[in-house]
């Protein structure tokens, strides 16, 4: 088995401290030894390797950036490096960890009551309780504020009605963090699996993120106890703050996928002989490889700086938008170019580029589409929002 060595043209390693490098190497080894041998079979079957969840919990991947409650308490760069390495394996693997940590554990950690934190966070860090995040609806994607899911107060309970769509981990989750309107205000609710009136339905036949479960969450007069309301936040900033955390991780994840396809394309181009020499010796192929290296290097520096800003407390959500937008775009372009270099071989699952390419189409769209991030940045620099 060959070890993944990563791409480091600008000695970015020198910007990391010992712990950050050790975290990166530990996750890299896990992906090489535990995930890569099974990814193709899971991709074909359209299943998530659930058998790896306890190990990921034990190793501390889940909610790794949070402090206390059994979480590893890593800094932001180390946390980002985990997601980079996981997405080098597959965007579905990284999505699982992003949803668990940034979208479910983070809001409980930031906005939950002490009782909610004690009840859920340690079990979620161990991987014994899986979370999902219900924000998007069939008719409300880029405009989540228009959501129609409602919560109504009734005695000691809230009663939820509505549908959430494109929910990663939906049907496998033990706990859903659901955003719904209570009166006119968006609030977060914790809904446990098995609650009467709560059901899920998987999205089948996906081209993309096949190593990840995507579901629809359906709430029909779903009654939950009042203590399941997240007390600490109201309004759209609740879910948006979670998305900022997740998008931060995705900016790192994109680098991982891009490094995987670059390494594969570089190696293939060096071995594949056409006419008189390896195709790596032709100008058009070199241009593609250099484009990838160039973009990966820029993306690494963007992500590293963003991580340091996050830890210093100076990170703005629009800076996260820029990194998510750039790094996922460049990763998708790298995957397309890698598939191109691999020629016909690139359309089979014997090589990873095709899988990454299809996955990245999802990553390009979820967590704020590429275009929405453009508009967030446009709003930021002009002061004029291009959306209502």
């Amino acid at each position: 088995m060959s070890r993944f060595k990563g791409v480091d043209f600008y000695a970015v390693d020198g910007l990391l401290d010992d712990e950050e490098r050790m975290v990166r190497d530990s996750v890299r080894e896990f992906v090489d030894e535990e995930f890569m041998p099974v990814v193709v079979e899971h991709h074909r079957a359209g299943t998530f390797p659930a058998e790896l969840i306890p190990k990921m919990g034990e190793l501390g991947f889940l909610g790794a950036g949070l402090r206390g409650y059994g979480c590893a308490g890593l800094n932001s760069v180390a946390y980002g490096l985990i997601l980079q390495e996981l997405e080098r394996g597959d965007s579905g693997l990284r999505s699982f960890v992003s949803v668990q940590g940034a979208l479910c554990m983070y809001p409980i950690h930031a906005y939950g009551s002490e009782a909610q934190k004690e009840k859920y966070l340690p079990a979620m860090a161990r991987g014994e309780c899986i979370g999902c995040f219900g924000l998007t609806e069939p008719d409300y994607g880029s405009n989540p504020g228009g959501m129609v899911t409602r919560a109504v107060e009734d005695g000691d309970s809230y009663v939820l009605n509505g549908v959430k769509m494109w929910i990663t981990n939906g049907s496998v989750a033990d706990l859903a963090v659901v955003w719904a309107k209570l009166g006119d205000e968006i609030r977060g609710f914790l809904v446990e699996k098995g609650t009467p009136g709560y059901s899920t339905k998987d999205v089948e036949n996906k081209f993309s993120l096949r190593v990840s479960v995507t579901s629809e969450l359906i709430f029909e007069d779903c009654r939950i106890p009042k203590e399941n309301l997240l007390p600490g936040v109201s309004g759209l900033k609740g879910p948006l703050s979670c998305l900022t955390q997740a998008r931060y991780g995705i900016a790192w994840g994109g680098i991982g996928a891009a490094m995987a396809v670059y390494e594969e394309a570089l190696s293939y181009a060096g071995n594949r002989i056409q006419f008189s020499r390896p195709i790596a010796g032709y100008q058009l192929v070199q241009e593609k490889l250099v484009w990838m290296l160039n973009e990966i290097t820029k993306a690494q520096l963007l992500a590293w700086r963003l991580g340091r800003l996050k830890d210093e407390g100076g990170m703005d959500f629009s800076q996260v938008s820029l990194a998510k937008r750039n790094n996922v775009w460049m990763a998708l372009e790298c995957a397309r170019k890698a598939r191109d270099i691999l020629g016909a071989n690139g359309i089979t699952d014997e090589y990873h580029a095709g899988r990454h390419m299809c996955n990245l189409e999802s990553v390009y769209t979820y967590e704020g589409t590429h275009d929405i991030h453009t508009l967030i940045l446009g709003h930021k620099i002009t002061g004029i929002p291009a959306y209502d």
Binding site: S2, R3, K5, D18, E19, M22, V23, S26, E29, F30, E58, L59, G60, F61, A64, A72, G73, L74, A78, I82
Partner: protein, 249 residues
Amino acid sequence: MEILALVKRVPATDSKIKVAGDGKSIDPQGIEFVLNPYDEFAVEQALKTKEALGGTVTVLTVGGPESQKELRTCLAMGADKAVLMKHEGPELDAHALATVLAAKIEELHPDLVFCGRQAVDTDDAQVGQRLAALLGWSCLSDAGTFELSDGSWTGTRDIEGGKESVKGSLPAVITCNKGLNEPRYPNLKGIMMAKKKPLEECEVQGAENKETLVALTPPPARPEPAILGEGPEAVAVLMDKLKNEAKVL
């Protein structure tokens, strides 16, 4: 139970080794250094023993300041403390290394010492056994299994085509072979805790080599593959080569 694991920083096994200009050392440029893979089994066995019986695990290496990285990896895996015996310049031979280790072990007086069966750089496979001899301790070399009970140990030694079952007394030196256990990954909390664990440094003193490394010679370059012919005509040429050159038919 006081447990000591001996470790070494070595080039990763998939490194492309180049001999340096002096003809006697390797060029470290572009080489990734890692914890010796056999020493991972030693550290894992030390940690498992501690988890079963309590005690402390100390990891020790002889090397330059850069070896701190490998010691930190062991601390992240779960070792309690680390000792770096600083030594720069020509590598110590097996005798000198065993001698300085024995002196340090007299000072640390552990009940058990685990080490890898060999370091994958020099492939000497001598230090553990020499150490046991100098200390006058029992030794299980090439351990494929190992168990402790009531102050003595039982285990198996991997030998060509079979296993020897052995038992012995404590204190002991165990040289660990592949298959003894499945080394754990450093978990992330362990990595964060590693920097707070003690790492003691001391100087190697009075080491005297009895062997001198004269030269390193890389293996001869592989001959370029040749295409012997195409289609049915190639068969006769191939048969001839297999019979008369490779002599495998």
